[in-house]
């Protein structure tokens, strides 16, 4: 099926795939974040509303985890680039 189309079509398909993947991963990250912050911050069930301490904790949890994710992403990209360089050297 793809044989009839040039490389630009393939690139488009790849781009589409990556975008879908990014969306899916963002949704998963969001769900995990909610779970984690709930688990870490909420344990008082004498009320059905979040207390001040819990709210603060959840805010900090969200921000901290987002920043951590960002940093991991940066380091990951660097290390992965290094790794690919090494692989490329081995391959030649």
């Amino acid at each position: 099926m793809y044989n009839n189309y040039g490389p630009s079509y393939q690139e488009q398909r790849l781009q589409q795939m990556m975008e879908q993947k990014q969306l899916k991963d963002f949704m998963r990250m969001y769900s995990n974040l909610v779970s984690r912050c709930f688990d870490d911050c909420v344990s008082d069930f004498t009320s059905n509303k979040l207390g001040d301490k819990e709210l603060t904790c959840v805010t900090r949890c969200t921000l901290k985890n987002m920043k951590m994710n960002e940093r991991v992403g940066q380091r990951f990209a660097e290390e992965n680039a290094k790794l690919m360089e090494e692989q490329a050297k081995l391959g030649n």
Partner: protein, 107 residues
């Protein structure tokens, strides 16, 4: 955020490039027909995202103290994350080297 690995934000994009660390991957892809190429690219993407997810989970567990006294990363946590990612990749290399040697011996 994860999205940074594939481009966007301030991170370097790692687009449709072969992911190293697995013996034999990322080589000779020019020879395959486009269908197989696309499938291989998708496979690699899956691997990279899986690796990133595991890495994120593990380094979070090992580096972030859950007390959340502050919304910013502390210096200790930042340093821990850098080292955690670096070591994860080293482990990745070691494991793939050993596996490659093992499979050579078996042939």
């Amino acid at each position: 955020m994860f999205g940074g690995v594939f481009g966007g934000g301030s991170q370097k994009p790692v687009q449709s490039a072969p992911m190293g660390g697995m013996p034999g991957m990322g080589q000779g892809q020019g020879q395959m027909d486009p269908n197989a190429q696309l499938a291989a690219a998708e496979q690699e993407m899956e691997m990279v995202t899986d690796m990133f997810a595991r890495l994120g989970e593990l380094c979070n567990k090992k580096c972030i103290l859950q007390r959340y006294s502050d919304e910013d990363l502390t210096k200790a946590e930042s340093v821990c994350i850098d080292r955690c990612v670096a070591k994860y990749f080293q482990v990745n290399r070691e494991v793939s080297d050993k596996l490659a040697k093992l499979s050579q011996v078996n042939q």
